[in-house]
């Protein structure tokens, strides 16, 4: 396998990481909505924590995207 095709395959594999981060982000918002429907009065107070969890889950997906971009355009 030559280096150019290995780069493309690596970038494609990195896209799996982005998809898995989507599961994480969905889990954060899904769990929040589930508990917010159980206790709507307490939901507004937890919005800061919701976005912290979202930011942490999203960052890992974005790192996978950075790996793909580095493989495609830098390496």
């Amino acid at each position: 396998m030559d280096a150019a095709s290995a780069k493309l395959i690596g970038a494609g594999l990195a896209a799996i990481g982005v998809g898995i981060a989507a599961l994480g982000v969905g889990n954060v918002f899904g769990s929040f909505l589930e508990s917010a429907l159980r206790n709507p009065a307490a939901a507004d107070g937890q919005q800061g924590r919701l976005f912290i969890g979202f930011a942490a889950a999203e960052l890992l997906g974005l790192l996978a995207f950075v790996v793909a971009m580095i493989l495609l355009f830098v390496a």
């Binding site: 976005f51 912290i52 960052l59 995207f65």
Partner: protein, 261 residues
């Protein structure tokens, strides 16, 4: 666009080009006025106009003043919940940060391309988001060390850590503390870059599909165009969320510096 070439380069939109002052230099470094600088100036002017319109201090606020006051109230409320009464003095900094990122993100989404001025997203460059993150991190360090002196290092040892675990926990916490400016800057930069690349790739599908005949228009162009409208709305949401997340994480880090644990 690049229709004649048949291949659209999604990275071209991030190119920084000098607009004038190509020969300006400070200590051997070129300091030309680039399109990035232009869009930062546009962002600052937009914030300036927005704030001036709302700072009339009327007893019964008009629509504009309500808009400005809800923005300032949003940030000062965030500081109050996350830091407490001592957070009030950081409100101007976090507010400027939030407004600059928010307006900078939204300016990059403006459809000025139809009149020939291509928008440039200032927050899609690591140099800019990285500097913002470093400024936030420096404020955390300065405030933390000024307020707690060397006691600031107790931030890295959570309460109730067993004695034999302290060296390991200290290292882990120190590492996670030092990684903060990178994750802060990288998150904003990558989120904006990824969204803009996605939109340009879809735009490439639309344009190349239009050139390829009626069947391709039905199969590729129209679905891509509909998807692009949805993605554009999603990107506007991401613009707001990323600005909010940046301000929120800055306030959390400031809370660590002000109140330790």
């Amino acid at each position: 666009m690049a229709a004649e070439s048949g291949k659209i380069d999604p990275m071209h939109q991030f190119l920084i080009e000098p607009m004038f002052g190509k020969e300006w230099a400070i200590a051997g470094h070129n300091v030309a006025f680039t399109n990035s600088a232009l869009w930062m100036v546009v962002t600052l002017v937009a914030i300036w106009v927005f704030m001036l319109g709302g700072m009339k201090r009327e007893l019964i606020p008009g629509r504009w003043q309500v808009m400005v006051e809800s923005m300032t109230g949003f940030i000062s409320g965030m500081m109050a919940t996350n830091i407490g009464p001592e957070g009030k003095k950081f409100t101007p900094y976090v507010f400027s940060l939030f407004m600059f990122i928010l307006i900078g993100n939204i300016m990059g989404m403006m459809p000025t391309g139809i009149v020939g001025v291509h928008p440039f997203t200032v927050t899609s460059h690591l140099t800019i988001t990285g500097v913002l993150a470093i400024v936030s991190f420096s404020i955390v360090l300065i405030v933390g060390f000024a307020k707690h002196k060397l006691h600031f290092f107790s931030l890295f040892i959570p309460h109730g850590t067993p004695g034999y675990m302290i060296p390991l926990i200290f290292l882990i916490e120190l590492f996670s503390f030092l990684i903060r400016p990178f994750s802060l800057g990288l998150r904003l930069f990558v989120a904006m870059t990824a969204g803009h690349i996605l939109m340009k790739v879809l735009a490439g599908f639309v344009i190349n599909g239009l050139n390829a005949g009626a069947l391709t228009i039905a199969i590729v162009t129209i679905p891509s165009f509909v998807l692009m409208i949805g993605i554009t709305l999603l990107e506007l949401l991401v613009c707001v969320i990323q600005a909010y997340v940046f301000a929120l994480l800055t306030s959390l880090y400031l809370n660590d510096a002000v109140n330790l644990h």
